[in-house]
């Protein structure tokens, strides 16, 4: 007899050079308290490091936190690195300081969840639970 146990695994990563990770840590903690397994990479991650982590850790969700303003530069590179490794089925989320006018382009890249300052962790958790269970249902 086997008893299957399934957990939502989330990678929380900070691409680029900004060193302030209070927000990322608060989110990691909130997701943990919601029963998820959160792999936190720490600060100053290159797109390649993030993609490697997503691949090796077989995560359901990749969440990027960025405050430096380099999102339009770094996000596409993260996606390219993910795609080149065949990691094409993860839920992409981001948060931090992202100007309103950049959001449509970011959604276009594939980030279905964009959470700026003041976003509620409850909304984030609900978003992940709904999206991941929907995509698991498809498979």
């Amino acid at each position: 007899m086997t008893t299957e146990t399934k957990k939502i695994r989330v990678l929380v990563a900070k691409p680029g050079l900004d060193g302030h990770d209070r927000g990322a840590k608060v989110i990691a903690r909130a997701l943990r308290d919601a029963g998820m397994e959160v792999i936190y990479t720490g600060i100053r991650q290159t797109p390649r490091m993030i993609a490697e982590a997503a691949l090796q850790e077989d995560v359901d969700v990749v969440g990027l936190s960025i405050l430096s303003g380099a999102h339009m530069e770094l996000f596409p590179r993260v996606i390219t690195e993910l795609e080149s490794r065949g990691v094409d089925d993860v839920l992409l989320m981001c948060g931090g300081i992202i100007p309103e006018e950049d959001i449509p382009a970011i959604r276009e890249m594939g980030f279905t969840g964009v959470f700026g300052p003041g976003a509620s962790t409850v909304d984030m958790i609900e978003f992940i639970n709904l999206s991941v269970s929907a995509s698991r249902h498809e498979n």
Partner: protein, 319 residues
Amino acid sequence: MDATDLTSRILGGDRRALALAITHVENNTETGRAVQAGLYPRTGQAQTIGVTGSAGVGKSTLASVLAAEQRARGRTVGIVAVDPSSPFSQGAILGDRIRMQALTADGGVFLRSMASRGSLGGLSETTTGVVDLLDAAGYDIVLLETVGAGQDEVEVATATQTTVLVTAPAAGDDVQVMKAGLMEIAQVMVINKSDLAGADTTAQQLRALLSLAPAGRAWIPPIVKTVARAGDGAANLVDAIDQHQQHMRESDHAGDERRALVRSQIIALARASLYREALTMAEREGILDGLAEQVAERRTDPRTAADTLLAAMRGEGAG
């Protein structure tokens, strides 16, 4: 991807297939079991090393420099890093990548973080499986870094060939070391943070303890001093591990030791499955809730309730 597909891709060096298979093993799926069974004949090539010890002694940092030293010697490294799950939410924050930054962009390293998932999962059950997958996938070194706590620690020692026990100066007196019975499971002792005061005393205490080992014990664990943060002692540590591995290969009792190791693995796996089955059944039938209520109201005692529970399960098993 089905089990056959995963198995052949892993043998072909596909890292994504390896990652997916590890998830199957962690989630205890039929596919995971099939992959494990299919790959087991291909295991036995890697040096498997466990790193264990109490919280805060520097296991992650030491595992990181240990892996870096192995890479410097041209060996590929698969790492399994276990962190505890919350007993309340069952969630976990897995932070080993933070201390292993230098390794995370190295193609010769595969690092997987794992949550302990509480007692229900049977930590040893999954770690043994994941170590085997990394071995079969062709990594020269498989490194298992465990949470340092309780019974699981001793069991986890059966998942790898060489167990490295990490201590730090002033982490308790010699009775602490004796209490945990760790002398039995460690093949290499490390005193990390050995730049701190008290390192020599700790070394002395360990040496004294080891001198009490049963006579005729073929392998006496060496004591290696390290300062993991600075990378000091990494070369000595790898040498000590290599010596133990060589000792195992050349030992007259190599076959016996291997049988003893897998025997412990079989017991640990059977125990985990049995435990999970029993608990699942007890909860499904509501038997456990009923008994808990009776004991809470002191209408019966815990020992009698446990016997009743077992009797009920045996009844269902027979029918």
